[in-house]
């Protein structure tokens, strides 16, 4: 009984059956088509990013290494040691020990300042909650993602490290890139 496909049946074209002249033509022709494909890919060039020399640009909102900020005019630290970041941190990686500002020893603009401010980067999950929790925008997430180190103890970033300008900045993506 012949098979009569209905209107809405899509018949898949399968080419000639293997064997015979059609099969030989198909095998040879498909081989040539494959050769053409690989050669065209070779001509197209590479998509590799040569990582240590070239870096993938990140988006402006990329959450990388944290940074602490100072006021640009007075040079005082923005952080007042309120520990809200530590409270918000789901990975519990921030440790803040606050101390009183005195007129002789003024570190921050508020009443208190952070005497110890440490972020344990081996625990941080880069969620950005600290940035959201901070009432003075003292801590923000930077763009740097090259954070590996040889010792675990080196991954505990102190206040001085977080306040300093990072040496190497990850490239930012241009608008619309």
């Amino acid at each position: 009984m012949p098979w009569n496909p209905s209107e809405d049946t899509i018949v898949v074209g399968r080419g000639p059956q293997p064997g015979g002249a059609g099969g030989a033509y198909r095998a040879f022709g498909e081989t040539l088509r494959g050769l053409k494909t690989t050669f065209a890919r070779a001509v197209e060039g590479t998509y590799t990013i040569q990582y240590p020399e070239e870096k993938t640009p990140v988006y402006p909102r990329f959450r990388g290494r944290h940074r602490l900020h100072r006021f640009e005019d007075t040079g005082l630290e923005k952080c007042v040691g309120c520990s809200l970041c530590a409270a918000a941190c789901p990975a519990d990686c921030i440790r803040v020990v606050a101390a009183e500002n005195t007129p002789e020893h003024r570190v921050s603009a508020g009443e208190r300042y952070a005497a110890v401010y440490e972020i344990n980067m081996s625990r941080c999950i880069f969620c950005g909650y600290c940035e959201i929790a901070c009432p003075f925008d003292a801590i923000t997430m930077g763009n740097d993602y090259e954070l590996s180190d040889y010792e675990r103890s080196d991954l505990i970033f102190t206040k001085e490290m977080l306040l300093a300008e990072p040496f190497e900045r990850a490239p930012l993506r241009a608008e619309g890139e």
Binding site: L35, T37, R41, A42, E44, G45, T46, Q50
Partner: protein
């Protein structure tokens, strides 16, 4: 009465023979790292990658680093292996590859400092037979290597090697018969000279395609690399080899690619001859041969990047049902035409 086994086209003094032996060895073994590098670079490009580019300028010192690494490794063998065969097999492999390289003519006899020197290892009257003889011995290297390893994967690989050799060497030989009949000689230099009118790949196009296809099987290159078949056999015959033994196998594989490219160049693409009556000075001849050889070496790499490995039954049915009848028909028709033209 003693008949000579083969006549040699041109005899040089013994010291030139020795020098030529050294030159062939040096040229052959220094071309291998080049093709190794070319393969990895070209395969990379065909997959949108760079290939190795860390060692040396643009990564071109990579094969040297690889070989040094392999030679620096511990020599070991499995407890189940047959010691002396296990050591002998890679030596057979590389020895036959170099020996086969000796008959590829890079040019006719030239005058070098007043001495006539042939730019080939030896010009025998049995050129293709010499080649097939060494091709057959080369498979002993693979067979013994796989068998003496005392490992199942290696054994499977060498069994496949045996079957593949028998299937494809027949077609390869028959494909060459057309050329031999047309040229009326077995000497490779005379075959090249006979192509001054027209390269043999035009009248012998079927023979050329069959020979080239069978060569892929002879050199264990993809799509006929069932002998190695990394995915199924963990490397086949060389599974148990490491260090120097593996390096020898690796070298001989690529040297075989060069030999086959050289033979295709010599037999079907007019050796050192150039088309359209261009007749450069004789010192250009080796470079013409090298250029043609590198095209075929590129073709081998190109096909490796394109075609997937055949299944074992496909390999067998392709060899016996397609290539062998084609080669036989080609030889038959060539014979009829040659007799009719005479």
């Amino acid at each position: 009465m003693s008949l000579p086994l083969a006549e040699v086209g041109y005899w040089e003094p013994w010291w030139i023979q020795v020098l030529k032996g050294i030159v062939i060895f040096v040229v052959g073994l220094s071309l291998v790292p080049v093709i190794l590098m070319a393969e990895r670079k070209i395969l990379g490009r065909m997959q949108h990658r760079f290939g190795p580019n860390r060692v040396g300028p643009y990564g071109y010192a990579q094969p040297v680093a690889d070989i040094l690494k392999l030679l620096g490794k511990e020599t070991f063998r499995p407890r189940t292996s047959v010691g002396w065969l296990f050591r002998l097999a890679p030596i057979i492999s590389i020895m036959t590859a170099v020996a086969a390289f000796a008959i590829i003519p890079f040019g006719d006899t030239v005058d070098i400092f007043g001495t006539k020197v042939g730019l080939y290892g030896v010009d025998v009257s049995i050129g293709p037979l010499y080649l097939f003889a060494f091709g057959a011995v080369a498979f002993y290297g693979i067979m013994l290597g796989g068998w003496a390893s005392g490992s199942k994967y290696s054994f499977l690989g060498s069994m496949r090697a045996a079957a593949q050799l028998i299937s494809y060497e027949v077609s390869q030989g028959l494909a060459l018969i057309g050329v031999v009949m047309t040229a009326g000689t077995l000497s490779l230099t005379e075959i090249v000279d006979a192509q001054s009118g027209m390269w043999y790949f035009i009248p012998q196009i079927v023979g050329f395609i069959v020979f080239l296809t069978a060569s892929f099987a002879e050199t264990n290159r993809p799509p006929f690399d069932l002998v190695e078949a990394d995915a199924e056999l963990v490397g086949g015959y060389n599974t148990e080899y490491g260090g120097g033994g593996f390096a020898s196998y690796y070298f001989s594989e690529y040297l075989n690619v060069l030999v086959v490219s050289g033979v295709v160049t010599t037999v079907f693409f007019g050796g050192w001859l150039l088309p359209f009556g261009i007749d450069p000075p004789t010192w250009v001849d080796p470079f013409v041969v090298l250029a043609k050889m590198s095209f075929f070496a590129f073709f081998f790499i190109w096909v490796r990047a394109t075609l997937p490995r055949l299944r074992y039954d496909q390999l067998m049915s392709f060899g016996w049902k397609v290539l062998l009848p084609l080669a036989t028909l080609n030889a038959l028709i060539t014979a009829i035409v040659v007799v009719a033209v005479d």
